[in-house]
Subunit: 129 residues, 4 copies
DNA sequence: GTGGTCTAGACCACA
DNA sequence: GTGGTCTAGACCACG
């Protein structure tokens, strides 16, 4: 769990931090019972103010994903894993291959993200939603 | 070009609007010379205040992507397309197939986005960047 | 809706403020659609820092009781009324009479509150809970 | 004397513990000379850290309500009873009856507490205080 | 003028 | 040493 904050995009720092924790939960990097970085460590890693980290952690607490224990730290309460780890590995390999080809074709990261967004939205309409 | 704004995520409305224009540019939905939605239309679609739309357009203008012409509207100046349209279609098809499989495995949209993010970051270190 | 904060009891200011809003909702002093005092007014009335008021309002927002609208204010979303206003008036009259007698007997406010707490806890065990 | 601590309301644990002792004193459940639960018992009942119990007892000692005797325990020094026991019983019966009616009308515990608070505040202005 | 974000720093509650 | 509360004040997003 390593935080990074980009202050150039207009996206609030605490939103970025909370999003990174959620991402780690989704990818299985964090499991229930794990302790999040201490506020102080997060501050050291991300360069923001302690209160900003606290705000991100409180937000996650509101969402029921983590739990702060006075004097002990902040701990993961729920998982966001949606997929079996083995299947996840397979999906990741295939996606990595796709990224390789996309990059060879000149597509940058933002383009890849935009394309995935379009495909996801598109599938929504094709699917049941 | 259809705007939508989510006021629940903490991300500023004007950042979301500008991001959606950039995404459309990257995917080729908007090409140089195209006119952006009028402020009035954007307001109707997104429910925000006209000033907020104006701020987004001003931001894009500052980035050199669009150009406001007094009394005529706001027009696309530059493209963000990084890939040949045919290759893009091919990449999109493969990605759509991957998404299909991911969904069958139980992965949701946020999980897919998180996985792409992880792969992109990972390839960064493996690749040339 | 008039805030007051007692800084001598160890109870966090934002907890007191949120509690007073909840109380007003329960007693019907605030109804859905009403606007809460602006942060600035609350600051003027309670003497705390604007951030403290914001924290109380955010807490209530999380509980689904109020809704903050950028640039417009904070508005009541849900009611906590549990009793018909007429019945409430009746209950209040009888309770006021009881308070009168309790005071004549030398009981102070804290004693009355403690006694109500004991009775409520007691009834729980007598009742169905 | 049975302690319970709710860690979800933002109220410091030691404030809750001290408040419960005060309430017991007011209701006559604890009388001068009685021994408070040992720190060990209080810890077992409330789940907090021994230091937290000690802090609550120290607070009560500072208020002159209890007295710590080395190696023997902590003992009640003063009473907070404001009313003759018989009158208290009568008041309690009437209040219990009122609670019964309030509950039949659909009022919950928090509503009852809020109403009492409102009545007490109201009487303040009407009465002599 | 409304609410919201962030900072720097003091102090508190708890283990 | 952990998280939590509060302050004062700057600046931003939005209507």
């Amino acid at each position: 769990m390593q935080f990074r904050v980009d202050r150039t995009g207009g996206i609030p720092a605490y939103v970025q931090l909370a999003g990174q924790v959620r991402e780690a939960l989704r990818l299985g990097w964090l499991k229930p019972g794990d302790r999040l970085p201490t506020v102080r460590d997060a501050v050291a890693a991300s360069g923001v103010n302690p209160n900003t980290v606290l705000k991100a952690y409180r937000q996650l607490e509101f969402e029921g994903l983590v739990e702060a224990r006075q004097g002990a730290g902040t701990f993961v309460k729920a998982s966001l894993r949606s997929v079996d780890p083995e299947v996840m590995t397979d999906l990741r390999d295939h996606l990595a291959h796709w990224v390789l080809r996309a990059r060879e074709a000149g597509m940058n990261d933002e383009g890849a993200r935009a394309l995935l967004g379009a495909v996801l939205d598109d599938k929504d309409t094709e699917g049941e939603r």
